[in-house]
């Protein structure tokens, strides 16, 4: 489709192999919207506009509705996350064990609010609901790495470590 043609100069001509394959995998029925969005989120780390357009066209769902679904579910994001995504669990078990302090510490150290990404794109910060490691409360994660029984001091240390990493 004309409107899916991308403006980049990489020669991809608007085709995206991942999205092509995704469309092959799922039947073009509306019910598959959330499943496909889940895969897109997983693949890109967010839901790019080109993917929204492809879904809208392929599943015959208006873009306003696609947008409505994306913005309803907290797992879907419209912007790429930072290279290191720090997620602080604010589930009840972690909350009772003081996870708010971890959030305060991270906000202060990174100078960003939850849901934001640092200017250099290195860190993003999010507050999540229970990640299921209640035995280790309070917990935070950096990408897939889990830090249990965390303290503000640990948070500061971990951020420093990643800051010095490439």
């Amino acid at each position: 489709m004309e409107d899916n043609k991308c403006q980049c100069e990489c020669g991809c001509n608007g085709r995206d192999e991942f999205l092509d394959k995704l469309c092959e995998k799922y039947e073009p029925i509306k019910d598959n919207l959330i499943q496909m969005l889940n895969e897109i989120q997983e693949h890109y780390g967010y839901i790019p506009m080109k993917a929204q357009k492809v879904l809208s066209e392929y599943l015959n769902v208006a873009m306003a509705e696609v947008y409505g679904v994306i913005t309803f579910y907290s797992r879907f994001t419209l912007k790429p996350k930072g290279k290191y995504n720090i997620a602080i669990c604010l589930g009840t078990a972690c909350f009772v064990k003081g996870s708010e302090k971890l959030l305060d510490t991270a906000k202060e150290a990174l100078k960003i609010k939850e849901g934001e990404t640092t200017e250099d794109g290195k860190f993003s910060l999010e507050a999540t609901r229970c990640i299921g490691a209640c035995g280790l409360a309070p917990v935070f994660t950096v990408n897939d790495e889990v830090y249990g029984k965390a303290t503000p001091e640990l948070m500061k240390k971990v951020i420093e470590e990643y800051r010095n990493k490439e």
Binding site: K30, D31, N32, L33, I34, Q35, L37, N38, Q41, L59, V61, E65, G68, V69, F72, Y73, S74, R75, F76, L90, G91, T92, A93, C94, F95, V96, K97, G98, E100, K101, D104, T105, E108, A109, T128, R129, C130, I131, G132, A133, C134, G135, L136, A137, V139, V146, G148, T151, P152, E153, M155, K156
Partner: protein, 619 residues
């Protein structure tokens, strides 16, 4: 494809092979090292422990020892957990570096690694799992296989009576008999509301429709609850089997399980279980040589608490925003794609196979008059033994918190327990002896809920807790109806005002009035229960609200705006721990000299208060 005979053969063989898992005196040379691969222990590196065990065993050429991944053992606080069977030795907080010592000392030399044994609350060293107080009062029905079998191996499931209930149902029971059995068992929905399961099945069976569906609600959204996740991770086949039994009973041949995408391990194990069941011909057509057929698929949630509400869940499966539908019609009559649909929660399904095999009479002998069987709780918060517990209905809160949970850590006092998550309420010490069942919890202003049980010590502010839950509800409200969309936001704003010291006397009556409106006028269960945390804390801890409003004080010292964090120079030894804890660098001072807090910078988070070894900092 396996015939019924072949499956029965596998059961017989495997059962013998795995006898050491459940029989302390199993006469076998083999040993099984069981390592928990639930989410909690996996987070603290249990996959690495498994890898190390395997490598070391190989290196040392040790025979007759197998390393098995299992689901959750329950005592998450002591994770990662390693259990060696048949002797049932329980090693706690094992690190990957401990593997070599366990193999050398325990497996090769036959001695216990004492330093890794678990210390019970009273300080005694416990070397066997069933000697731990944590397990003594538990009765595992829903969690029966969790921690016993490898969830990724269908043969192990079959060994412990797996798919035997399905066989029984398909070959010797009519759908009506199945429903009767479930009805007679007294099983009620474990998702929170406690609707009689048999009745739900009956409605779905009676509904007219050429196509019906069975759905499993695994959108465990209560922040601090992980019962369903643990069952899916530890025993996925028991859910598949139960959904098939339900399908047979109501006349459905297609099932969906709706799981949170945030549960990757559960999703992956369930997917694997479906594949194995298909491979064995258990899922498919002509199941066990009958004309029953069943297909099952996974649908992932994407982070919306409201999707735990059954009609919102259906909307989400159909690819839309998870906003609840009008009821009636109920899903039993018009559910997925408007077809009759049975929706039960994971834990409810987890009881089904046991009811079919052991009979309704057995099941209904457990529990109280109105609430039969057991309930799984995710015990968390300020309690020693954080973890997963399954107790008979009617067990008191005191038994759970103190006998099983080991009481409150750090010498603090019990203040309240919270059940039912954002829909539930706080239970104060005066109700600790309430036997837990659906009715008694409602009577004291809380609810059973899905099984989150958070314990709070006396340093927790109840107004702040109510604010926490309201914040959750505001975040998770779908926005469909006015009372929930705007009402919860207004309640949160009032609570914020109160905890910031700007509360006014009439705020309490305003909160109460608004709470009742939201309860009565909201569309779905989320809104109808959202005010409960506020109403229950108002009921039992009104004095705390009054203190915040009238005296501008937070008695528990938790509300930052009302706190004044100070270092007592006479107690301060200048150790500098507080300085390192402070997230905003508000503390200064020379080593070995009394430190000071700059009130301009201090955000009153209290991190320093908790960590000061000399209790020199007060809020």
């Amino acid at each position: 494809m396996k015939t019924l005979e072949e499956i029965n053969k596998i059961r017989e063989q495997k059962r013998k092979e795995l006898d050491l898992r459940v029989n302390l005196k199993a006469g076998t040379k083999e040993k099984h090292i069981l390592v928990c691969r639930g989410t909690g222990c996996t987070s603290s590196k249990s996959p690495k422990i498994i890898e190390n065990f395997k490598n070391i065993l190989k290196e040392k050429n040790v025979e007759n020892v197998r390393v098995i991944q299992t689901g959750c053992f329950g005592l998450c606080a002591k994770g990662p957990i390693v259990i060696i069977r048949p002797e049932d030795t329980f090693y706690a907080m094992v690190t990957p570096d401990d593997c070599e010592e366990i193999i050398n000392t325990h497996i090769i030399e036959g001695k216990k690694v004492e330093r890794l044994l678990c210390k019970d609350v009273d300080g005694t060293l416990v070397d066997r799992l069933d000697e731990l107080n944590f397990y003594k009062k538990q009765e595992r029905i829903a969690l029966k296989n969790c921690g016993v079998i490898d969830p990724e191996n269908i043969d192990e499931y079959i060994a412990f009576d797996g798919y035997k209930a399905l066989e029984k149902v398909l070959t010797s029971m009519t759908p009506d008999e199945v429903i009767q059995e479930v009805t007679d068992s007294g099983l009620r929905g474990r998702g929170g509301a406690g609707f009689p399961t048999g009745k739900k099945w009956m409605f779905a069976k009676m509904a007219k429709g050429d196509q019906k569906y069975v759905v499993c609600n695994a959108d465990e959204g209560d922040p601090g609850a992980f019962m369903d996740r643990s069952i899916l991770e530890g025993d996925p086949h028991c859910i598949i089997e139960a959904m098939m039994i339900a399908g047979y009973a109501i006349g459905a041949n297609k099932g969906y399980i709706y799981v949170r995408a945030e549960y990757p391990i559960a999703v992956q194990r369930f997917q694997k279980a479906i594949e194995q069941a298909k491979e064995y011909g258990i899922l498919g057509t002509n199941i066990f040589g009958t004309d029953f057929e069943f297909d099952l698929a996974i649908r992932l949630g994407a982070g919306a608490f409201v999707c735990g509400e059954e009609t919102a869940l259906l909307e989400s499966i159909e690819g839309r925003r998870g906003q609840p539908r009008l009821k009636p019609p109920f899903p039993a009559n018009a559910g997925l794609w408007q077809k009759p649909t049975l929706i039960n929660n994971v834990e409810t399904y987890a009881n089904i196979t046991k009811i079919i095999l052991n009979g309704a009479k057995w099941y209904s002998s457990i529990g109280t008059e109105t609430s039969k069987g057991t309930k799984v709780f995710a015990l968390g918060g300020n309690v020693v033994n954080i973890g997963l517990v399954e107790v008979p209905m009617g067990t008191t809160l005191r038994e759970i918190v103190f006998d099983i949970g080991g009481g409150i850590p750090d010498g603090k006092e019990f203040k309240a327990a919270q059940t039912g998550g954002p829909s539930g309420g706080c239970i104060p010490a005066e109700h600790l002896d309430t036997p837990i069942d659906y009715e008694s919890l409602s009577a004291i202003g809380s609810m059973m809920g899905s099984g989150g049980l958070i314990v709070m010590d006396n340093t927790k502010c109840m107004v702040n807790l109510a604010k926490f839950y309201l914040g959750f509800t505001v975040d998770e409200s779908c926005g469909k109806c006015t009372p929930c969309r705007i009402g919860t936001q207004r309640m949160l704003e009032i609570l914020e005002r109160i905890t910031e010291g700007n509360g006014e006397t009439e705020d309490i009556s305003k909160l109460e009035k608004l709470a009742h409106t939201i309860k009565n006028a909201s569309v779905c269960g989320l809104g109808q229960t959202a005010p409960n945390p506020v109403l229950s804390t108002l009921k039992y801890f009104k004095d705390e609200y009054v203190a915040h409003i009238e005296d501008k004080k937070c008695p528990a010292g938790e509300c930052k705006a009302l706190a004044n964090v100070e270092i007592n120079p006479e107690l301060c030894k200048g150790c500098g721990i507080c300085k390192r804890q402070c997230p905003v660098n508000a503390i200064s001072g020379e080593v070995k000299q009394p430190h000071k807090i700059n009130p301009e910078i201090c955000i009153k988070c209290g991190a320093c208060v908790d960590k000061c070894p000399f209790k020199a900092i007060s809020k």
